[in-house]
Amino acid sequence: MNKRLCIRTFFAVLACTIAVSPAFADDAPGWLKQAASVRLPGYEKDTAAAAVVNEQIVNVSSDRKLVITDNFAVRILNREGRRFARARAFYLSGTGKIRDIKAWIIRPDGSTKYYDKKQIVDVIADSNDVYNEGRVRIIDATGDVDAGFMFGYTVVSEETPLFYQDKWTFQSSIPTVMSRYSLTLPNGWSASSHTFNANEITPRVNGNTYIWEMNDLPAIPDEPMSPSVANLAARIAVNYSPNTPDRIANRVFTSWGDVSVWASALHDPQVIVDDSVAAKARDLTANAATEFEKIRAIGTFVQNLQYISIDIGVGYGNGYAPRSSTSVLRRGYGDCKDKANLMRALLRSIGIVSYPIVIYSGDPTFVRAQWPSPRQFNHCIIAIKVSDATRSDAILEHEKLGRLLIFDATDQFTQVGDIPVHEQGSEALIVAGQDGGLVRMPVLPPDSSLLDRSIEATISADGEMKGTIRERAFGQSSAIFRSEIRSLSSNDFHKAIEGWLTRGATGARLLHLSSQDVPDDSRFDLNVEFAAPRYGQVMQGRLLVFKPVFVGRKRQVSLTDTKRSTPIEIEPIAISERTTFKLPQGFTVDELPEAVKLETQFGKYSTKYEVKGDSLEFTRHLSMQRTSVPVEKYEAVRAFFVAMRDAEQAPVVLIRK
């Protein structure tokens, strides 16, 4: 029997086994035993584990409750794979419950271990939130398994869905033999689906049961500059509903306009302008002359409120609704939607219209237009209607709502007029009633995030270099500095800069450091004075050799691996560096590296050397635009990075006259 046939036969048996063979509590169920007998294909030698069964069975009852059964079986292939021997079941303590959770291991000798209730750990899902109804039940078998073991679990949970929409991901970071999503509906209901990252998957329909299934799926590796695994994985989005349209209001969405109308009803009533809000807005904008300055004053205030998340009533939809603006102003803290909502109220009190935007934060290519659903988002920002007088790269022209300035009131490092890089270009929902809908966020030009560096250095005959570094970071480059300075104490920031210098020159001393945040210009300045003894190497008493690239980029990704499996997501960046070396007396330039000029669709890089009297001027420029490069073109991206790296290693040779 060939391998595929063998696996198909297994699943035919498995389907029956799951349906008809309840196991004794401490005995592994039939489906798991069957899974343990599957012969796996030959995976790459470093494959840690393989998901043999990854299945979710959803039953919608006539009273519209869901009973969800998850069956998962994983074969541990090496000791790295032990971490997959863990059952996790999420539930909302208010509106959901775990009816049952069981797990088993089947050892290579066929013996079984059953995990009973005593081994269940029940923990809060997010320990960072002050309160969150999300909880997780866990059975951890990682210490009990080894290569060759099979781990499996079944979770039966119950919930009342907010929406008649669901999603299922077939693929993960380990290979998957069989992944299946099964949906059983009451009479008079039907379902439809969208497929992402794979060819359309048509469900098998048997009576009221729909089954979507994929087999033999490869692992998705974790690679630098890659989209998230969730965004590369084959997945489906499912809509289901009774065939009576009047009964599905706010449960299924057929257009983004519908989602906007639904969300507006949650957001708009919370924009309350009372005396306290109006007074605060007046106070904040008292010295603001222009529309942009007013927005900036309010935006900066809201951004600096403490981010605190308290999620109560999530199962009833409260996770989608902000708290009232007055409450958030009084308490002085809130989460992303609370902040956006307070900002709307403050803006409204001075006559500026704004709308919330819900967005997926973390991967700008994640949201898919084909599936109108609130379940695609995890963050809330704001769109502010502005006049023609306000100019910014962060403005989008909306056909119904006009000119909208996009702003993230939660990201305290990104100023008004700028957009966090992970949100640029993302599809997001403007919540504006009938006029709302899905729009693509602006992508700012690379130059808006310019890091402009100038170095003045003097090299002495013994190789010591002294000088100053002056950096002016704008836009998202300045956000990196703000984030760094916020995460480090002043002492640690000083040490971080020392470390940055000594990576370029052993024994470099930081003589003076100053920094200044200029938020109104979305700028951050860094000034460094340094001395680096023995930076240049003296050879034979007549040659002096040094590298003109002294300091590197602080966050540098090196794409040098020869193999690649996933697309390359390039983020916009622009760096301009100009270094002037005053050369030691009695020396002249003997050899210079060749100038480099690289031009590709995704980026440009150039270096230039110029001798001017007793000085050497070195310049380098890098500019990369937001691009998603398909994996087939990886070699071109790699060549770009390698050429850039090599150019930055090249030395200058001085010779004694």
Binding site: K45, D46, N78, R79, E80, K113, K118, Q119, I120, V121, D122, V123, I124, S127, V130, Y131, G143, D144, V145, D146, A147, N304, Q306, I308, I310, R331, G332, Y333, R486, S487, S489, S490, N491, E498, G499, L501, T502, R503, T506, G507, R509, Q537, M539, Q540, L543, V545, T560, T562, E591, L592, P593, E594, V642, R645, D646, Q649, A650, P651, V652, V653
Partner: protein, 648 residues
């Protein structure tokens, strides 16, 4: 923000890693207990104790009442001034776990704005939640956010924790916090008499009689505790007090003698086995070698058996004595040590359980034994009047060697009737040598290609084996490739082999082929190459120009690199100066390089010999940081030294 509970409670409850609770009370009750806030503190714009601090405790008071026979009561009262956004973030949210059996009373917290406005934490702003529940045990938490917190405000909180059937003995009182503290007070009312305690890393703090039966230990203007690379363990640096004595107790003495008694168990069988193993051998040294070899290679060490899961290990039968270990041919690390000790005793030697300090936690000395820092770690055997140490239970340790963190530590040698103290030896740098060979060809375009062989000896080999014994060959290969590419990202590594992983008598040997494009840099007519392949791209040890704490290295070590590079035809050496030798006056460390050219084969031979930590010198005071850094910078420069080839 989470606040540490007193360490004693860790012993008292299953879950209590720490527990602090805040609670809102009526304004009347709060007003009664709060101390007045000075206007100068409200207006203060910069920290007084430590420049640039994000927050500063104006006072941090802890009152420990151990006078009751039944309960231990600890009262906390802390007032913190916030200066920066980072300080605001740190104190904006409190997450306060507690467990069953702990009672928290009189809890209150409030924020005082710069204009004197007081914002109290209200009851409905405090959430109680179950953090974790497992096997009938629960840890709950009270969580809340501080409203309207911003730089400039003062936050203060107080609470009382009460624990039944508990005492203060063993409590660890930190005399330095993670934020600077203007006044740090510990009040202590002992059960009886005067406080008994021991202070670490500080000499000028003691408990002085105060009012109400309390004694007060106090510090003022205490800077925050910070982390530094290459610093000694926290407990060696941070000032702290331990309540109670660190001397041996009756209970622990009994436990120790019981363990020592196992060495003499099964006397008849063990005597017979010892005789069999040492047949034909007269000297103790050779006998011990045989016992060691037997214990380490003939008994399956279940502690380091990668085929056993934790579950299987838990279910293994306990060996009641060395006879069981022999009979089952299987035992844990400790059972194997006991078997070895038993063989030595039954061969007429004085063998004892050796309780040894752990340098990862505390540096210990036999001149000042502190029981709290010693644990059963090896077998001490007196050979020719000297105590020698053996740990066959540590599967990867060669004969008569200890792991690095048990070297140069206090050792207490316990038999059923006697106790002796001594200091464990420390190995010299040449014991932990890494011998590395590279045979390369350099191409005209700067690509370096060839083979690498790395031999790890001594502690380096023990570390490698103990960290990787349970890894698959594929994983070991992956780790080695990652390591080879760590500082040369473009390196292409292939043909990886790793040998002798399970043979302690031999060094761990790693071999691979490597190709590094642009290893040498071209500039027109010249090519520059850093011959120290194994140090290529490695950053300097120390980057900071200042230092707060001592500098500490793990163990003495040495490196011997032998590299041959066949140069491209058409190029000749323009410069092959060697950076020479760098050595300190005490010869604690040395870096010596030699570069030779074989003109007949156009090959450069680079030889590098390095050692550090000679004479057991591994810890250096802060005052020597500048010189030490200069020395290591010199080593780094010598490693980064480039030679020049010139096109003919």
């Amino acid at each position: 923000m989470r606040i540490d509970i007193d360490p004693k409670l860790r012993i008292l409850t299953v879950f209590s890693l720490f527990a602090v609770i805040f609670f809102a009370q009526s304004a009347t009750a709060q007003d009664k207990g709060w101390l007045p806030v000075s206007p100068s503190d409200l207006q203060l714009a910069e920290p007084l104790v430590e420049k640039g601090a994000d927050a500063e405790a104006i006072f941090w008071e802890t009152r420990i009442d151990d006078s009751s026979s039944y309960d231990l009561t600890v009262r906390h009262y802390v007032r913190v001034k916030i200066f920066t956004e980072r300080g605001r973030e740190k104190y904006s949210k409190f997450d306060i776990p507690f467990v069953k059996g702990e009672r928290i009373r009189d809890l209150a917290a409030r924020v005082i704005q710069t204009d004197g406005t007081i914002v109290e934490i209200k009851k409905d702003e405090i959430f109680e939640r179950e953090i974790i529940r497992a096997s009938g045990l629960k840890m709950k938490a009270k969580s809340f956010a501080i409203p309207n917190i911003e730089p400039g405000v003062i936050i203060e909180y107080r609470y009382r924790e009460q624990t039944s059937d508990a005492g203060a003995i063993g409590m660890k009182l930190l005399l330095q916090r993670d934020i600077p503290v203007r006044k740090l007070d510990y009040y202590y009312k002992p059960y009886t008499g005067e406080p008994v305690y021991k202070a670490y890393n500080i000499s000028d703090v003691r408990f002085i009689k105060d009012r109400g039966g309390y004694y007060l230990a106090s510090r003022t203007n205490v800077p925050s505790f910070k982390e530094e690379p290459f610093m000694p363990p926290d407990d060696m640096v941070r000032p702290w007090i331990r309540l109670g004595r660190g001397r041996i107790s009756i209970t622990s003495l009994l436990a120790k003698t019981q363990l020592a008694g196992l060495l003499k168990k099964d006397r008849g069988d063990m005597k017979k086995l010892a005789a069999e193993l040492s047949a034909g051998v007269n000297n103790d040294e050779e006998k011990l070698k045989r016992f060691y070899e037997y214990s380490q290679s003939q008994i399956n060490n279940t502690t380091f058996d990668p085929s056993l899961t934790d579950e299987m290990r838990d279910k293994l039968p306990e060996n009641k004595g060395p006879k069981d270990t022999v009979k089952r041919k299987s035992g844990s690390a400790m059972e194997i040590d006991i078997l070895f000790g038993s063989l030595a005793i039954n061969s007429g030697m004085d063998a004892r359980i050796a309780y040894i300090g752990d340098r990862r936690r505390m540096f210990t000395s036999s001149r000042n034994i502190d029981q709290d820092f010693l644990r059963p770690a090896a077998i001490g055997v007196k050979v020719n009047g000297q105590w020698q140490f053996f740990n066959p239970g540590m599967k990867f340790l060669p004969f008569r060697k200890l792991v690095w963190y048990e070297e140069d530590s206090a050792a207490e040698l316990v038999s059923e009737t006697h106790i002796e103290w001594t200091q464990t030896p420390i190995s010299p740098p040449e014991y932990s040598v890494s011998k590395r060979k590279g045979r390369f060809t350099l191409a005209e375009d700067g690509t370096l290609e060839g083979t690498v062989v790395v031999e790890l000896h001594g502690h380096s080999a023990v570390d490698y084996r103990s960290e990787n014994f349970d890894e698959t060959p594929a994983k070991l290969e992956e780790l080695l490739i990652d390591d080879a590419k760590r500082f040369m990202s473009t390196a292409e590594v292939s043909d990886v082999t790793i040998e002798n992983l399970s043979d302690n008598a031999l060094p761990v040997v790693q071999k691979y082929r490597v190709k590094v494009p642009n290893f040498a840099q071209r500039t027109g007519r010249r090519m520059f190459i850093q011959p120290s392949y194994f140090r290529h791209g490695v950053p300097p040890y120390f980057s900071s120009s200042t230092r707060l704490y001592s500098i500490s290295f793990r163990f003495p070590w040495s490196e011997h690199d032998s590299i041959e590079i066949k140069m491209p035809s058409g190029f000749e050496l323009e410069n092959a100066e060697s950076p020479g030798t760098i050595v300190d006056s005490g010869r604690i460390g040395q870096h010596a390089t030699e570069i030779k050219i074989d003109n007949s084969s156009n090959t450069m031979m680079y030889d590098r010999k390095f050692y550090f930590g000679a004479g057991g010198n591994l810890v250096f005071p802060t005052s020597s940081y500048t010189n030490l850094k200069r020395m290591f910078d010199g080593f780094h420069d010598a490693d980064a030294h480039a030679i020049t080839l010139r096109q003919q």
